[in-house]
């Protein structure tokens, strides 16, 4: 059966959820062969096998951490040569997209980024994408070379599908350009203990109406009562109330959770671009005319400083 290369996003051997979702999509097209690179690469095998990887190609070398992107492109290219897959799937992180794009140039392929769904088709995999701030849905395919497709988090369910997941060492020779961009230092982001924004099932966001960094505590409390990630609009981030890493919208993260709760967010097009594909949308805003209310399944026109704490305490009461 045809094989599909799946690039593994992991942290020291812990496989991140979007990769497991990719395995679900890869199985629609062929047998998934995973490629895991860097520190802990071999430790990914058990989780990958559990979710359908028939083989796990691994490579570790200091270059993967010490230099930007290119060493990983070299490795993925080596895997492509070794496997001759019918498609290459990569998680749509910032780095994932860059790796995929450079690989596509090298192997003479077209690239599709930020797919939200993937199906097998007569002329190769068909990718669904959202366009123009998610106001359109397109279906596309790669028409030259081995399709290289990056897929957004939350695009498929994680499914158990046990396979052998045999670990094989991938032989990689680094290109002359591999050491071009040095990573001089790396400061890990401090964990908040909350789910990763792009992977979370529920996202609770705050905007201009939150009116100050200190007030984000009430947004965080609501998020914690639901086990949710915290997001922020660009207005709140630009004002310095919340970190840019939590920004939802065109220049921040694009999220597609089961439930999105927008608090004090008017719903400008740039914000909608990052959350419009959420399954259920709820908003609290004191302005009844705010465009966010055009999107909601349920909206409360009111003061978020009254409504949000009441909601949080009601949730806690109901949970017992």
């Amino acid at each position: 059966m045809a094989e599909v290369l799946v690039y593994v996003d992991h942290v020291d051997g812990a496989v991140r959820k979007p990769t497991l979702e990719l395995l679900t999509l890869a199985r629609r097209i062929g047998e998934p062969v995973a490629v895991a690179l860097g520190n802990g690469a071999a430790d990914t095998a058990a989780a990958l096998a559990e979710h359908g990887a028939t083989r796990v190609l691994t490579a570790d070398a200091p270059e993967f951490a010490d230099y930007l992107v290119v060493p990983k492109v070299d490795a993925l290219q080596a895997a492509h040569e070794a496997v001759s897959p019918v498609a290459v799937l990569v998680p749509s992180s910032a780095e994932g997209k860059e790796i995929a794009a450079r690989l596509a140039v090298r192997i003479g392929s077209g690239i599709i980024t930020d797919a939200v769904d993937l199906e097998a088709g007569d002329e190769g995999p068909v990718a669904t994408q959202s366009a123009f701030a998610a106001s359109f849905t397109t279906k596309s395919r790669v028409s030259k070379g081995t399709p290289v497709i990056t897929v957004k988090p939350n695009s498929a369910a994680v499914e158990a599908a046990p396979a052998s997941g045999a670990v094989e060492a991938l032989s990689v020779s680094f290109s002359a350009g591999a050491t071009g961009t040095k990573v001089v230092s790396r400061t890990p982001r401090e964990s908040t203990g909350r789910p990763e924004l792009t992977e979370a099932a529920i996202v609770v966001s705050g905007g201009r109406g939150v009116n100050g960094a200190e007030n984000f505590a009430i947004i965080e409390k609501l998020a914690d009562s639901l086990g949710a990630a915290v997001g922020a609009s660009r207005a709140a981030v630009d004002a310095g109330w919340y970190p840019h890493s939590n920004q939802v919208g065109q220049t921040g993260k694009s999220v597609s959770p089961q439930l999105y709760i927008a608090n004090g967010i008017s719903g400008a097009i740039q914000h909608r671009a990052g959350m419009q594909t959420s399954k259920t949308i709820v908003a609290v805003n004191k302005d009844a005319e705010a465009p966010i209310f055009d999107l909601v399944d349920y909206g409360v026109v009111g003061d978020l400083f009254e409504v949000v704490p009441q909601l949080t305490s009601e949730i806690e009461t109901r949970k017992g």
Binding site: L68, R102, A104, V105, D297, Y298
Partner: protein
Amino acid sequence: MSLRIVVCVKYVPDATGDRHFADDLTVDRDDVDGLLSELDEYAVEQALQIAEEADDAEITVLTVGPEDAKDALRKALSMGADKAVHVEDDDLHGTDVMGTSLVLAKAIEKTGYDLVICGMASTDGTMGVLPAILAERLNVPQVTLLSEVSVEDGTVKGRRDGDTASEQLEAALPAVVSVTDQSGEARYPSFKGIMAAKKKPVEALELDDLDIDADEVGLEGAWTKVDSAAERPARTAGTIVKDEGEGGKQLAEFLASQKFI
């Protein structure tokens, strides 16, 4: 020696307009006003700041696009770029990222460069991969998605804030850089700048000038094919209540009914 900076910019339909697809499933450019992609303004701004720090620098702003794309070049020139290159050719209609990057790479090589600066993504296609592809095509280091950037003694340095870590990066010139919207507010063109821009040179190039065949670009030459584009159905109108003191509880009731609690 002069530091040669090339800033790649894109002319895009206004994101606040009613954007849609044309009949051939390319981006419709007729019914929505176009402008310099907002995210490319940050690239122009960083180019200007790097040039101000350098003893001697020249900024060329480069675009591939239709006739009206000149507006984007003029905006960048009025912000302070020195000259512009506009690649325009009827055969370019429908070109995807692989073709566009090929054209840009050839035009950058023809112009001559030490540093290429791009925005983090376009506001219409939003792929965000063009800078990485340019680095691959030009065979120079990629120093991308920077929220801080500086150039000193032939080295570009910057901070890349990723999902899991913040990284300090460093590469020797020549290199391709992209900057995020966190890199610093872009300046507004001054009246003097707008007047001066009218006299700055805009070089027009066609595919022939870059030794690119028509079949390497355009809709037919594209490496991807869009089979369909459908407007997302409007979300069905939801329930909207006014908070009369019980808004939080009502919302909790809704969330419970949807099994979120």
